[in-house]
Amino acid sequence: MGLRLFFITGYAWKVWRRNLDAFLKTYRVNFLPPFIEPLLYLLALGFGLGTYIEAVDGIPYVRFIAPALISISVMFSAFYECTYSSFVRMYYQKTFDAIIATPISIEEVIAGEILWGATRSLIYASLMLPVLIAFGVVDLPASLLVIPFAFLAGLLFASIAMCFTAITPSIDALNYPSYLFITPMFLFSGTFFPLTILPLPIQYLALGFLPLTHVVGVNRSITLTQFSPMIYVHLGWIAVVTAIFFAIAIRLMRRRLIV
């Protein structure tokens, strides 16, 4: 099994490389948004709304939301890459069909897509971080850990996204997870206000079922250099859920495409 997984990864990187090539070809449109987006949020929320908020748990509001901005970007980039973009490649461009006519298997194609989704998260986090550093709202050098962690968090969101892509009847139906799953997460994962001000049942719901909660938890520890044992819970949750959804995504995709 271990050996087989290794081979899967070897071939999966060729699929990953295809996506990297396509990404780099249009780098201008790809590299600009991650610079602009945190700037807008920082200005509007951090320095605009933030002036009315003294501090959250003793932390200045901009410093409180900075790790959430990175987490959200990590989520968006992996999730949208492995839903809409993967669906276009699978359904409209028939790219997956073309690839499985070569020695590469469908499992490896899906693994490569997920690895690429995670890589996009890593790229976006790497582009955002200098902006946040420039504004002095994240700690150094701890904040550099945000970059490798973005890949792990990206794997999580990419795997979940790929499950939706595998079962969606059409590209429009992907709006459901986008509005019903991603948007609530964007708001209720301890992003713009601490989870602790919500009723306890909702706190448990967020910790149990909203992946972004754990990603924000880890990133906030990193950028504020405040590590507590809770980080192990966050990392453990992410690792387990990623593994589960990764396996489900591959199984569902195989069922959809190999008939």
Partner: protein, 315 residues
């Protein structure tokens, strides 16, 4: 279809490039391929003909190891398709029915990215791509994006892509679909020259002139089964005869043919007589039956096809 058990030793075939025995594919209750048997020999062009829904594409997909069979046996290069898909696919060149070139890349990059899937080293790939672009006459289009290519160019590029791994065998699903006559002739010419290089070629097509021109042997499928198998010319002689005399349909022509005891078939507004002596039949018909128009012509694969599969429209 009869199986050829003497080619099989313990389920594995040695002498044929592809061998299928009682090969079956079911989708739930639908039987798409119903226990067919055939074999493809090294270096030949082998065709699958049949109306839509006959099971041709499903058979192609099973050969390509991308659609698992539900029964029977299927070996490609002597290897079972379920057990050795990677090894088989490494030696296979595939031209799919639908154009699935990568629209994110140029002509050259399409071939380069594809060569990477086969693990071909960059320097080797570059050299091979140059040759292939020349072979399919697309050198000037190397830096053009896919959506700027004509239909014929896309098909040629897909053919080049299928050759990037220097495959032993090519599998082509309707290689000339939607092409103008010039573009079709170029593809035929290329396929002929590939056969001359010793490649085995398996193809499906709806164009019966194409099948007659290219195939050494072919099968005609209908309703998931193989109806006949053989060389195109032999099939014509066996099932239709060398020639056909056609006359415009009229009740008195039909009555006259019946009087003369001449076997005939009616297709729409045509009466057809299958014969080996077209001139005599045409003369007799003209002299005694007084038809409006008479045409004597050689029989074609199309006549065989329509005779065997009927004229009902398939959706």
């Amino acid at each position: 279809m009869e199986a050829r058990p003497y080619y099989f030793t313990g389920g594995a075939c040695i002498s044929a490039i592809i061998s299928a025995d009682r090969l079956e594919k079911r989708f739930g209750t639908l039987v798409a391929v119903d226990r067919i048997g055939f074999e493809v020999r090294k270096g030949e062009v082998f065709g699958f003909l049949g109306p839509n829904g006959a099971g041709k594409t499903t058979t192609m997909k099973m050969i390509q190891c991308i659609s698992p069979r539900t029964g029977g046996s299927l070996a490609v290069f002597g290897m079972d398709v379920d057990a050795h898909p990677r090894e088989i696919k490494r030696q296979l060149g595939v031209v799919p029915q639908e154009n699935n070139l990568d629209p994110d890349f140029t002509v050259y990059r399409n071939l380069l990215v594809y060569s990477r899937y086969f693990g071909i080293p960059r320097a080797e790939a570059d050299a091979r791509i140059e040759e292939l672009l020349e072979f399919v006459q697309l050198q000037e289009k190397r830096d053009v994006m896919i959506d700027k290519l004509s239909g014929g160019m896309k098909r040629r590029l897909i053919l080049a892509r299928a050759l990037v791994n220097m495959p032993e065998m090519l599998v082509l699903d309707e290689p000339t679909i939607g092409l103008d006559p010039q573009a079709r002739h170029i593809i035929w010419e290329k396929l002929k020259s590939l056969q001359a290089l010793g490649k085995t070629i398996v193809l499906t097509t709806h164009y019966l002139d194409e099948a007659a021109r290219l195939c050494d042997r072919l099968v005609i499928m209908d309703n998931a089964k193989i109806l006949v198998e053989g060389n195109p010319q032999d099939l014509i002689l066996e099932h239709v005869g060398a020639d056909i005399v056609e006359a415009e349909y009229a009740p008195d022509v039909v009555a006259c043919l019946q009087d003369m005891d001449m076997p005939f078939e009616t297709f729409g507004d045509m009466v057809q007589v299958f014969t080996d002596s077209p001139h005599e039949v045409a003369r007799t018909l003209l002299e005694t039956c007084d038809p409006k128009r008479v045409l004597a012509r050689p029989a074609t694969l199309e006549d065989v096809f329509l005779k065997l599969t009927g004229r009902t429209l398939r959706e």
